[in-house]
Amino acid sequence: MTSPGLAPVLAEPAGTDPGPGGAPARRGPVPVAVLRGLAGLAGLVAVLEVLPHTGLVSADYLPPASETVRTLGTLLAEPTFWTALGDTLTGWGVGLAVAVVAGVAAGVVIGSVPVLRAVTASTIEFLRPIPSVALIPVAVLLYGTDLRSKLLLVVYASFWQVIVQVLAGMQDVDPVAEDTARSYLLGTWGRVRHVLWPTALPYVMTGVRLAATVALILTITAELVIGAPGLGHEIAVAQVSGAVPEVYALVLVTGLLGVAVNLAARAVERRALHWHQSVRREVTA
Protein backbone atom coordinates (compact mmCIF):
# COMPACT_ATOMS: atom_id res chain seq x y z
CA MET A 1 0.00 0.00 0.00
CA THR A 2 1.72 3.15 -1.07
CA SER A 3 -0.36 6.23 -1.20
CA PRO A 4 -0.30 9.51 0.65
CA GLY A 5 -1.66 9.03 4.06
CA LEU A 6 -1.54 5.29 3.98
CA ALA A 7 2.10 4.22 4.14
CA PRO A 8 2.46 1.86 7.09
CA VAL A 9 5.37 3.55 8.83
CA LEU A 10 5.82 3.71 12.53
CA ALA A 11 7.92 6.46 14.14
CA GLU A 12 11.04 6.22 12.03
CA PRO A 13 12.84 9.34 10.99
CA ALA A 14 12.59 9.86 7.30
CA GLY A 15 15.63 10.83 5.32
CA THR A 16 19.22 9.80 5.46
CA ASP A 17 19.69 9.20 9.13
CA PRO A 18 21.01 5.96 10.49
CA GLY A 19 19.87 4.47 13.72
CA PRO A 20 16.59 3.28 15.05
CA GLY A 21 13.67 5.60 15.53
CA GLY A 22 12.25 7.24 18.58
CA ALA A 23 9.89 4.45 19.58
CA PRO A 24 10.19 3.38 23.22
CA ALA A 25 13.09 1.02 23.65
CA ARG A 26 12.17 -2.63 23.92
CA ARG A 27 14.56 -3.83 26.53
CA GLY A 28 14.46 -7.13 28.30
CA PRO A 29 13.24 -10.50 27.13
CA VAL A 30 9.55 -9.70 26.67
CA PRO A 31 8.39 -6.85 24.42
CA VAL A 32 6.24 -4.20 26.03
CA ALA A 33 3.43 -4.79 23.58
CA VAL A 34 2.96 -8.39 24.65
CA LEU A 35 2.91 -7.46 28.32
CA ARG A 36 0.34 -4.80 27.68
CA GLY A 37 -1.79 -7.22 25.70
CA LEU A 38 -1.74 -9.72 28.51
CA ALA A 39 -2.66 -6.96 30.90
CA GLY A 40 -5.65 -6.17 28.71
CA LEU A 41 -6.84 -9.75 28.73
CA ALA A 42 -6.35 -9.95 32.47
CA GLY A 43 -8.36 -6.78 32.81
CA LEU A 44 -11.18 -8.26 30.78
CA VAL A 45 -11.28 -11.35 32.97
CA ALA A 46 -11.25 -9.17 36.06
CA VAL A 47 -14.15 -7.08 34.82
CA LEU A 48 -16.16 -10.15 33.88
CA GLU A 49 -15.52 -11.59 37.30
CA VAL A 50 -16.36 -8.53 39.32
CA LEU A 51 -19.27 -7.09 37.39
CA PRO A 52 -21.86 -9.77 38.23
CA HIS A 53 -20.84 -9.68 41.89
CA THR A 54 -21.42 -5.97 42.18
CA GLY A 55 -25.00 -6.43 41.11
CA LEU A 56 -24.77 -3.91 38.29
CA VAL A 57 -25.58 -6.79 36.02
CA SER A 58 -27.66 -9.63 37.32
CA ALA A 59 -25.72 -12.83 37.79
CA ASP A 60 -28.58 -14.55 36.03
CA TYR A 61 -27.61 -12.87 32.81
CA LEU A 62 -23.87 -12.65 33.22
CA PRO A 63 -22.27 -15.28 35.37
CA PRO A 64 -18.88 -14.41 36.83
CA ALA A 65 -15.89 -15.40 34.77
CA SER A 66 -14.85 -18.03 37.29
CA GLU A 67 -18.18 -19.78 36.94
CA THR A 68 -17.96 -19.72 33.18
CA VAL A 69 -14.52 -21.23 33.28
CA ARG A 70 -15.66 -23.91 35.71
CA THR A 71 -18.58 -24.74 33.44
CA LEU A 72 -16.18 -24.92 30.55
CA GLY A 73 -14.12 -27.42 32.49
CA THR A 74 -17.21 -29.54 33.08
CA LEU A 75 -18.10 -29.33 29.43
CA LEU A 76 -14.70 -30.48 28.31
CA ALA A 77 -15.23 -33.67 30.25
CA GLU A 78 -18.46 -34.47 28.44
CA PRO A 79 -18.28 -36.47 25.22
CA THR A 80 -21.26 -34.61 23.78
CA PHE A 81 -19.18 -31.48 23.69
CA TRP A 82 -16.46 -33.14 21.68
CA THR A 83 -18.98 -34.64 19.31
CA ALA A 84 -20.45 -31.22 18.75
CA LEU A 85 -17.01 -29.73 18.24
CA GLY A 86 -16.26 -32.47 15.76
CA ASP A 87 -19.48 -31.76 13.89
CA THR A 88 -18.66 -28.10 13.68
CA LEU A 89 -15.14 -28.71 12.48
CA THR A 90 -16.34 -31.26 9.93
CA GLY A 91 -18.85 -28.88 8.48
CA TRP A 92 -16.29 -26.12 8.44
CA GLY A 93 -13.51 -28.18 6.94
CA VAL A 94 -15.49 -29.93 4.24
CA GLY A 95 -17.34 -26.78 3.27
CA LEU A 96 -14.14 -24.78 3.13
CA ALA A 97 -12.37 -27.41 1.05
CA VAL A 98 -15.20 -27.63 -1.47
CA ALA A 99 -15.45 -23.85 -1.68
CA VAL A 100 -11.72 -23.41 -2.18
CA VAL A 101 -11.47 -26.05 -4.88
CA ALA A 102 -14.53 -24.76 -6.71
CA GLY A 103 -13.51 -21.13 -6.25
CA VAL A 104 -9.98 -21.62 -7.49
CA ALA A 105 -11.09 -23.76 -10.42
CA ALA A 106 -13.82 -21.35 -11.48
CA GLY A 107 -11.61 -18.35 -10.85
CA VAL A 108 -8.73 -19.68 -12.90
CA VAL A 109 -10.96 -20.68 -15.79
CA ILE A 110 -12.89 -17.43 -15.86
CA GLY A 111 -9.83 -15.33 -15.17
CA SER A 112 -7.76 -16.74 -17.99
CA VAL A 113 -10.38 -16.19 -20.69
CA PRO A 114 -11.11 -12.47 -21.00
CA VAL A 115 -14.40 -13.10 -22.77
CA LEU A 116 -15.63 -15.31 -19.98
CA ARG A 117 -14.58 -12.75 -17.43
CA ALA A 118 -16.47 -9.99 -19.18
CA VAL A 119 -19.59 -12.07 -19.64
CA THR A 120 -19.75 -13.38 -16.08
CA ALA A 121 -18.87 -10.11 -14.39
CA SER A 122 -22.41 -8.87 -13.98
CA THR A 123 -23.69 -12.24 -12.79
CA ILE A 124 -20.99 -12.47 -10.17
CA GLU A 125 -21.68 -8.93 -9.04
CA PHE A 126 -25.35 -9.76 -8.65
CA LEU A 127 -24.98 -13.11 -6.91
CA ARG A 128 -22.19 -12.09 -4.56
CA PRO A 129 -24.07 -9.78 -2.24
CA ILE A 130 -26.97 -12.17 -1.82
CA PRO A 131 -26.88 -13.01 1.83
CA SER A 132 -26.22 -16.68 2.36
CA VAL A 133 -28.83 -16.69 5.08
CA ALA A 134 -31.43 -16.35 2.37
CA LEU A 135 -30.71 -19.97 1.62
CA ILE A 136 -31.53 -21.13 5.13
CA PRO A 137 -35.18 -21.96 4.43
CA VAL A 138 -34.14 -23.73 1.24
CA ALA A 139 -31.55 -25.73 3.10
CA VAL A 140 -34.05 -26.69 5.75
CA LEU A 141 -36.54 -27.87 3.17
CA LEU A 142 -34.07 -29.90 1.22
CA TYR A 143 -31.81 -31.38 3.82
CA GLY A 144 -33.41 -30.76 7.19
CA THR A 145 -30.81 -30.75 9.91
CA ASP A 146 -28.38 -32.82 7.92
CA LEU A 147 -24.73 -31.99 7.42
CA ARG A 148 -25.63 -31.12 3.85
CA SER A 149 -27.78 -28.17 4.86
CA LYS A 150 -24.77 -26.78 6.69
CA LEU A 151 -22.60 -27.38 3.68
CA LEU A 152 -25.01 -25.62 1.40
CA LEU A 153 -24.65 -22.41 3.37
CA VAL A 154 -20.93 -22.70 4.01
CA VAL A 155 -19.98 -23.52 0.44
CA TYR A 156 -22.19 -20.82 -0.99
CA ALA A 157 -20.77 -18.07 1.23
CA SER A 158 -17.12 -19.15 1.13
CA PHE A 159 -17.09 -19.75 -2.59
CA TRP A 160 -17.55 -16.06 -3.33
CA GLN A 161 -14.70 -15.07 -1.03
CA VAL A 162 -12.35 -17.35 -2.89
CA ILE A 163 -13.41 -16.62 -6.44
CA VAL A 164 -13.25 -12.86 -6.00
CA GLN A 165 -9.69 -13.06 -4.74
CA VAL A 166 -8.63 -15.50 -7.45
CA LEU A 167 -10.05 -13.27 -10.17
CA ALA A 168 -8.19 -10.30 -8.74
CA GLY A 169 -5.00 -12.33 -8.66
CA MET A 170 -5.40 -13.43 -12.25
CA GLN A 171 -5.83 -9.82 -13.25
CA ASP A 172 -2.74 -8.73 -11.40
CA VAL A 173 -0.30 -10.66 -13.54
CA ASP A 174 2.54 -8.38 -14.48
CA PRO A 175 2.44 -7.91 -18.28
CA VAL A 176 6.22 -7.60 -18.34
CA ALA A 177 6.61 -10.97 -16.66
CA GLU A 178 4.08 -12.42 -19.04
CA ASP A 179 5.92 -11.08 -22.07
CA THR A 180 9.24 -12.30 -20.72
CA ALA A 181 7.83 -15.77 -20.27
CA ARG A 182 6.43 -15.79 -23.74
CA SER A 183 9.65 -14.56 -25.28
CA TYR A 184 11.40 -17.46 -23.62
CA LEU A 185 8.92 -19.71 -25.34
CA LEU A 186 7.51 -21.23 -22.20
CA GLY A 187 4.47 -23.25 -23.08
CA THR A 188 1.07 -22.64 -21.54
CA TRP A 189 1.87 -24.95 -18.67
CA GLY A 190 5.22 -23.25 -18.11
CA ARG A 191 3.57 -19.85 -18.03
CA VAL A 192 0.98 -21.03 -15.57
CA ARG A 193 3.64 -22.46 -13.31
CA HIS A 194 6.14 -19.66 -13.44
CA VAL A 195 4.10 -16.54 -13.98
CA LEU A 196 0.45 -17.07 -13.24
CA TRP A 197 0.59 -19.20 -10.15
CA PRO A 198 3.19 -17.16 -8.22
CA THR A 199 1.25 -14.00 -8.93
CA ALA A 200 -2.09 -15.46 -8.03
CA LEU A 201 -0.94 -17.41 -5.00
CA PRO A 202 -1.02 -14.54 -2.50
CA TYR A 203 -4.53 -13.71 -3.57
CA VAL A 204 -5.56 -17.32 -3.30
CA MET A 205 -4.14 -17.45 0.22
CA THR A 206 -6.02 -14.29 1.15
CA GLY A 207 -9.16 -15.82 -0.28
CA VAL A 208 -8.63 -19.00 1.74
CA ARG A 209 -8.11 -17.00 4.89
CA LEU A 210 -11.27 -14.93 4.39
CA ALA A 211 -13.21 -18.02 3.39
CA ALA A 212 -12.03 -19.85 6.51
CA THR A 213 -13.49 -17.17 8.74
CA VAL A 214 -16.73 -16.95 6.80
CA ALA A 215 -17.05 -20.73 6.76
CA LEU A 216 -16.85 -20.86 10.54
CA ILE A 217 -19.47 -18.16 10.93
CA LEU A 218 -21.86 -19.89 8.54
CA THR A 219 -21.30 -23.31 10.08
CA ILE A 220 -22.21 -22.06 13.48
CA THR A 221 -25.09 -20.03 12.08
CA ALA A 222 -26.49 -23.11 10.40
CA GLU A 223 -26.22 -25.04 13.64
CA LEU A 224 -27.77 -22.24 15.60
CA VAL A 225 -30.71 -21.51 13.34
CA ILE A 226 -31.38 -24.80 11.59
CA GLY A 227 -30.41 -27.07 14.42
CA ALA A 228 -27.79 -29.06 12.58
CA PRO A 229 -25.53 -30.83 15.07
CA GLY A 230 -22.61 -28.82 16.32
CA LEU A 231 -21.54 -26.12 18.75
CA GLY A 232 -24.16 -23.68 17.53
CA HIS A 233 -26.90 -26.16 18.25
CA GLU A 234 -25.50 -26.75 21.72
CA ILE A 235 -25.67 -23.03 22.35
CA ALA A 236 -29.26 -22.86 21.22
CA VAL A 237 -30.19 -25.79 23.45
CA ALA A 238 -28.38 -24.26 26.41
CA GLN A 239 -30.12 -20.96 25.91
CA VAL A 240 -33.57 -22.48 25.63
CA SER A 241 -33.05 -24.55 28.75
CA GLY A 242 -31.80 -21.54 30.65
CA ALA A 243 -28.32 -22.93 31.30
CA VAL A 244 -26.72 -19.53 31.19
CA PRO A 245 -23.14 -20.45 32.18
CA GLU A 246 -23.16 -23.11 29.47
CA VAL A 247 -24.13 -20.50 26.93
CA TYR A 248 -21.20 -18.32 27.87
CA ALA A 249 -18.80 -21.20 28.04
CA LEU A 250 -19.77 -22.31 24.56
CA VAL A 251 -19.58 -18.76 23.24
CA LEU A 252 -16.07 -18.57 24.61
CA VAL A 253 -15.22 -21.80 22.84
CA THR A 254 -16.49 -20.46 19.53
CA GLY A 255 -14.48 -17.30 20.06
CA LEU A 256 -11.34 -19.29 20.72
CA LEU A 257 -12.12 -21.43 17.71
CA GLY A 258 -12.41 -18.29 15.62
CA VAL A 259 -9.06 -17.04 16.89
CA ALA A 260 -7.50 -20.43 16.19
CA VAL A 261 -8.88 -20.52 12.65
CA ASN A 262 -7.61 -17.00 12.02
CA LEU A 263 -4.14 -17.75 13.37
CA ALA A 264 -3.92 -21.02 11.48
CA ALA A 265 -4.99 -19.36 8.25
CA ARG A 266 -2.40 -16.62 8.69
CA ALA A 267 0.28 -19.16 9.50
CA VAL A 268 -0.52 -21.14 6.39
CA GLU A 269 -0.53 -17.95 4.37
CA ARG A 270 2.88 -16.94 5.70
CA ARG A 271 4.29 -20.36 5.08
CA ALA A 272 3.09 -20.58 1.53
CA LEU A 273 4.30 -17.09 0.78
CA HIS A 274 7.56 -16.93 2.70
CA TRP A 275 9.35 -16.55 -0.56
CA HIS A 276 7.13 -13.76 -1.72
CA GLN A 277 8.82 -10.41 -1.44
CA SER A 278 6.14 -7.98 -2.37
CA VAL A 279 3.25 -7.24 -0.14
CA ARG A 280 -0.09 -7.81 -1.77
CA ARG A 281 -2.96 -5.67 -0.80
CA GLU A 282 -6.07 -7.54 0.18
CA VAL A 283 -8.77 -7.08 -2.44
CA THR A 284 -11.76 -5.64 -0.68
CA ALA A 285 -14.39 -8.32 -1.00
Partner: protein, 260 residues
Protein backbone atom coordinates in the same frame (compact mmCIF):
# COMPACT_ATOMS: atom_id res chain seq x y z
CA UNK B 1 -20.51 6.02 -27.39
CA UNK B 2 -21.77 4.40 -30.52
CA UNK B 3 -24.96 2.42 -30.63
CA UNK B 4 -22.92 -0.69 -31.28
CA UNK B 5 -20.78 -0.23 -28.19
CA UNK B 6 -23.86 0.39 -26.08
CA UNK B 7 -25.37 -2.77 -27.45
CA UNK B 8 -22.21 -4.71 -26.75
CA UNK B 9 -22.05 -3.36 -23.24
CA UNK B 10 -25.70 -4.18 -22.61
CA UNK B 11 -25.15 -7.68 -23.93
CA UNK B 12 -22.18 -8.25 -21.68
CA UNK B 13 -23.97 -7.07 -18.59
CA UNK B 14 -27.32 -8.68 -19.19
CA UNK B 15 -26.36 -11.60 -21.40
CA UNK B 16 -25.50 -14.27 -18.92
CA UNK B 17 -28.14 -13.31 -16.39
CA UNK B 18 -30.76 -13.40 -19.13
CA UNK B 19 -29.56 -16.80 -20.26
CA UNK B 20 -29.58 -18.16 -16.73
CA UNK B 21 -33.00 -16.75 -16.12
CA UNK B 22 -34.35 -18.35 -19.27
CA UNK B 23 -32.76 -21.66 -18.39
CA UNK B 24 -34.27 -21.48 -14.93
CA UNK B 25 -37.66 -20.68 -16.42
CA UNK B 26 -37.72 -23.53 -18.85
CA UNK B 27 -36.01 -26.04 -16.63
CA UNK B 28 -38.67 -25.66 -14.00
CA UNK B 29 -41.56 -24.91 -16.35
CA UNK B 30 -43.29 -28.23 -16.06
CA UNK B 31 -41.95 -28.99 -12.62
CA UNK B 32 -44.09 -30.88 -10.19
CA UNK B 33 -41.35 -31.03 -7.60
CA UNK B 34 -42.81 -29.68 -4.42
CA UNK B 35 -39.64 -27.90 -3.43
CA UNK B 36 -38.80 -26.44 -6.80
CA UNK B 37 -41.90 -24.92 -8.34
CA UNK B 38 -41.83 -23.39 -11.81
CA UNK B 39 -40.21 -20.00 -12.00
CA UNK B 40 -43.42 -18.65 -13.40
CA UNK B 41 -45.26 -19.63 -10.22
CA UNK B 42 -42.63 -18.04 -8.05
CA UNK B 43 -42.84 -14.79 -9.91
CA UNK B 44 -46.59 -14.88 -9.72
CA UNK B 45 -46.56 -15.35 -5.98
CA UNK B 46 -43.94 -12.61 -5.72
CA UNK B 47 -46.43 -10.14 -7.04
CA UNK B 48 -49.16 -11.47 -4.79
CA UNK B 49 -47.17 -11.64 -1.60
CA UNK B 50 -45.09 -8.52 -1.68
CA UNK B 51 -47.73 -5.91 -1.93
CA UNK B 52 -47.15 -2.40 -0.82
CA UNK B 53 -48.67 -2.98 2.57
CA UNK B 54 -46.69 -6.12 3.21
CA UNK B 55 -43.54 -4.31 2.19
CA UNK B 56 -44.46 -1.67 4.68
CA UNK B 57 -45.33 -4.04 7.48
CA UNK B 58 -42.45 -6.46 7.07
CA UNK B 59 -39.65 -5.15 4.93
CA UNK B 60 -39.52 -1.59 6.22
CA UNK B 61 -39.18 -2.57 9.90
CA UNK B 62 -36.36 -4.91 8.96
CA UNK B 63 -34.56 -2.19 7.06
CA UNK B 64 -35.10 0.31 9.84
CA UNK B 65 -33.59 -2.04 12.38
CA UNK B 66 -30.67 -2.63 10.06
CA UNK B 67 -30.18 1.09 9.55
CA UNK B 68 -30.30 1.84 13.26
CA UNK B 69 -27.90 -0.94 14.17
CA UNK B 70 -25.54 -0.16 11.33
CA UNK B 71 -25.33 3.56 12.00
CA UNK B 72 -24.82 2.99 15.71
CA UNK B 73 -22.08 0.51 14.88
CA UNK B 74 -20.39 3.09 12.64
CA UNK B 75 -20.46 5.76 15.33
CA UNK B 76 -19.20 3.44 18.06
CA UNK B 77 -16.74 1.65 15.82
CA UNK B 78 -15.16 4.78 14.38
CA UNK B 79 -15.19 6.59 17.72
CA UNK B 80 -13.54 3.78 19.62
CA UNK B 81 -11.28 3.02 16.70
CA UNK B 82 -9.94 6.57 16.74
CA UNK B 83 -9.19 6.43 20.45
CA UNK B 84 -7.54 3.04 20.23
CA UNK B 85 -5.68 3.77 17.02
CA UNK B 86 -4.10 7.00 18.10
CA UNK B 87 -2.57 5.86 21.36
CA UNK B 88 -0.10 3.11 20.97
CA UNK B 89 -0.34 2.06 24.60
CA UNK B 90 -4.12 1.72 24.41
CA UNK B 91 -3.81 -0.27 21.23
CA UNK B 92 -1.32 -2.69 22.75
CA UNK B 93 -3.53 -3.27 25.76
CA UNK B 94 -6.80 -3.71 23.90
CA UNK B 95 -5.73 -5.52 20.76
CA UNK B 96 -5.92 -9.12 22.07
CA UNK B 97 -9.24 -8.42 23.74
CA UNK B 98 -10.66 -6.94 20.55
CA UNK B 99 -9.35 -9.79 18.45
CA UNK B 100 -11.06 -12.25 20.77
CA UNK B 101 -14.39 -10.46 20.54
CA UNK B 102 -14.11 -10.12 16.81
CA UNK B 103 -13.44 -13.85 16.42
CA UNK B 104 -16.77 -14.76 18.01
CA UNK B 105 -19.16 -15.57 15.15
CA UNK B 106 -21.74 -12.79 15.44
CA UNK B 107 -24.85 -15.00 15.29
CA UNK B 108 -23.67 -16.73 18.45
CA UNK B 109 -24.23 -13.53 20.37
CA UNK B 110 -27.95 -13.65 19.67
CA UNK B 111 -28.71 -16.05 22.52
CA UNK B 112 -26.46 -14.01 24.79
CA UNK B 113 -28.11 -10.72 23.93
CA UNK B 114 -31.50 -12.31 24.24
CA UNK B 115 -30.68 -12.89 27.90
CA UNK B 116 -30.34 -9.18 28.45
CA UNK B 117 -32.67 -7.63 25.95
CA UNK B 118 -35.52 -10.06 25.45
CA UNK B 119 -36.87 -10.54 21.97
CA UNK B 120 -37.98 -7.10 20.89
CA UNK B 121 -36.56 -4.53 18.54
CA UNK B 122 -33.86 -3.56 21.03
CA UNK B 123 -32.47 -7.06 20.89
CA UNK B 124 -32.28 -7.03 17.14
CA UNK B 125 -30.62 -3.64 16.97
CA UNK B 126 -28.13 -4.66 19.65
CA UNK B 127 -27.36 -7.84 17.78
CA UNK B 128 -26.65 -5.89 14.62
CA UNK B 129 -24.49 -3.40 16.48
CA UNK B 130 -22.55 -6.16 18.21
CA UNK B 131 -21.78 -7.82 14.93
CA UNK B 132 -21.15 -4.78 12.74
CA UNK B 133 -19.00 -2.95 15.22
CA UNK B 134 -15.91 -5.13 14.98
CA UNK B 135 -14.88 -4.83 11.34
CA UNK B 136 -15.44 -1.08 11.55
CA UNK B 137 -13.51 -0.71 14.78
CA UNK B 138 -10.57 -2.85 13.74
CA UNK B 139 -10.33 -1.28 10.32
CA UNK B 140 -10.46 2.19 11.85
CA UNK B 141 -7.60 1.27 14.18
CA UNK B 142 -5.66 -0.03 11.20
CA UNK B 143 -6.35 3.07 9.15
CA UNK B 144 -5.42 5.47 11.93
CA UNK B 145 -2.25 3.56 12.67
CA UNK B 146 -1.12 3.80 9.08
CA UNK B 147 -1.40 7.54 8.63
CA UNK B 148 1.67 8.68 6.76
CA UNK B 149 4.48 9.99 8.94
CA UNK B 150 5.50 12.73 6.53
CA UNK B 151 1.93 14.00 6.45
CA UNK B 152 1.89 13.93 10.24
CA UNK B 153 5.09 15.96 10.39
CA UNK B 154 3.67 18.42 7.89
CA UNK B 155 0.63 18.98 10.05
CA UNK B 156 2.74 19.40 13.17
CA UNK B 157 5.02 21.91 11.56
CA UNK B 158 2.06 23.98 10.38
CA UNK B 159 0.51 23.83 13.81
CA UNK B 160 -2.47 21.72 12.75
CA UNK B 161 -3.22 19.86 15.94
CA UNK B 162 -6.10 18.61 18.03
CA UNK B 163 -9.55 18.53 16.52
CA UNK B 164 -8.38 20.06 13.25
CA UNK B 165 -5.80 17.33 12.92
CA UNK B 166 -8.42 14.70 13.64
CA UNK B 167 -10.75 16.12 11.06
CA UNK B 168 -8.39 17.01 8.25
CA UNK B 169 -5.70 14.40 8.65
CA UNK B 170 -6.61 11.34 10.66
CA UNK B 171 -10.18 10.71 9.56
CA UNK B 172 -9.60 11.54 5.90
CA UNK B 173 -6.42 9.51 5.66
CA UNK B 174 -8.03 6.54 7.38
CA UNK B 175 -11.29 6.80 5.43
CA UNK B 176 -10.48 4.22 2.72
CA UNK B 177 -9.69 1.67 5.39
CA UNK B 178 -12.75 2.65 7.41
CA UNK B 179 -14.94 2.21 4.36
CA UNK B 180 -13.53 -1.28 3.88
CA UNK B 181 -14.65 -2.06 7.40
CA UNK B 182 -18.06 -0.55 6.71
CA UNK B 183 -18.49 -2.71 3.65
CA UNK B 184 -17.75 -5.88 5.60
CA UNK B 185 -20.06 -4.64 8.33
CA UNK B 186 -22.91 -4.24 5.86
CA UNK B 187 -22.82 -7.91 4.85
CA UNK B 188 -22.69 -8.95 8.47
CA UNK B 189 -25.52 -6.60 9.29
CA UNK B 190 -27.81 -8.08 6.68
CA UNK B 191 -27.05 -11.59 7.88
CA UNK B 192 -27.76 -10.64 11.48
CA UNK B 193 -30.91 -8.77 10.57
CA UNK B 194 -32.33 -11.87 8.91
CA UNK B 195 -31.17 -14.36 11.51
CA UNK B 196 -32.35 -12.37 14.48
CA UNK B 197 -35.76 -12.34 12.88
CA UNK B 198 -35.74 -16.01 12.11
CA UNK B 199 -34.93 -16.62 15.72
CA UNK B 200 -37.44 -14.47 17.47
CA UNK B 201 -39.69 -11.90 15.88
CA UNK B 202 -43.22 -11.00 15.06
CA UNK B 203 -42.51 -9.16 11.88
CA UNK B 204 -39.73 -8.69 9.41
CA UNK B 205 -38.40 -10.22 6.24
CA UNK B 206 -36.59 -13.09 7.91
CA UNK B 207 -39.59 -13.87 10.05
CA UNK B 208 -41.92 -13.92 7.05
CA UNK B 209 -39.72 -16.23 5.03
CA UNK B 210 -39.43 -18.65 7.91
CA UNK B 211 -43.20 -18.59 8.37
CA UNK B 212 -43.66 -19.52 4.76
CA UNK B 213 -41.16 -22.28 5.05
CA UNK B 214 -42.77 -23.69 8.20
CA UNK B 215 -46.22 -23.61 6.64
CA UNK B 216 -44.83 -25.13 3.44
CA UNK B 217 -45.93 -22.20 1.33
CA UNK B 218 -43.12 -22.97 -1.07
CA UNK B 219 -43.57 -20.53 -3.93
CA UNK B 220 -44.08 -17.78 -1.35
CA UNK B 221 -40.94 -18.84 0.44
CA UNK B 222 -38.96 -18.68 -2.78
CA UNK B 223 -40.38 -15.28 -3.52
CA UNK B 224 -39.12 -14.18 -0.13
CA UNK B 225 -35.69 -15.60 -0.87
CA UNK B 226 -35.71 -13.76 -4.17
CA UNK B 227 -36.63 -10.52 -2.47
CA UNK B 228 -33.86 -10.97 0.05
CA UNK B 229 -31.40 -11.49 -2.75
CA UNK B 230 -32.59 -8.37 -4.53
CA UNK B 231 -32.38 -6.40 -1.32
CA UNK B 232 -28.82 -7.54 -0.70
CA UNK B 233 -27.91 -6.56 -4.21
CA UNK B 234 -29.56 -3.16 -3.99
CA UNK B 235 -27.93 -2.36 -0.65
CA UNK B 236 -24.50 -3.25 -1.96
CA UNK B 237 -25.16 -1.10 -5.03
CA UNK B 238 -26.18 1.78 -2.80
CA UNK B 239 -23.04 1.33 -0.75
CA UNK B 240 -20.85 1.28 -3.84
CA UNK B 241 -22.49 4.45 -5.09
CA UNK B 242 -21.93 6.26 -1.79
CA UNK B 243 -18.38 5.01 -1.61
CA UNK B 244 -17.54 6.26 -5.08
CA UNK B 245 -18.76 9.71 -4.13
CA UNK B 246 -16.93 9.85 -0.81
CA UNK B 247 -13.71 8.23 -1.95
CA UNK B 248 -13.45 9.70 -5.43
CA UNK B 249 -10.07 11.13 -4.50
CA UNK B 250 -8.83 7.72 -3.39
CA UNK B 251 -9.92 5.93 -6.54
CA UNK B 252 -8.26 8.62 -8.62
CA UNK B 253 -5.10 8.26 -6.61
CA UNK B 254 -4.99 4.49 -7.03
CA UNK B 255 -5.61 4.79 -10.72
CA UNK B 256 -2.77 7.29 -11.04
CA UNK B 257 -0.45 4.97 -9.14
CA UNK B 258 -1.29 1.99 -11.29
CA UNK B 259 -0.69 3.90 -14.51
CA UNK B 260 2.32 6.11 -13.94
Amino acid sequence: MTALSVLRRGLLVLGLPAVLFTVWWFATAGSTDFYFPPLATILESFGKVWTAERLLSDVVPSLLRLAAGYLLAVVVGVGLGLVVGMRRAVRDVLEPVLELFRAIPPPVLIPVIMLFAGIGDTMKVLVIVSGCMWPILLNTVEGVRAVDEVLGDTCRSYGITGVARLRHLVLRAASPQIVTGMRQALSIGIILMVISEMFAASNGLGFTIVQFQRSFAIPEMWSGVLLLGILGFLLSLLFRFAENRALAWYHGLRRAQRNP
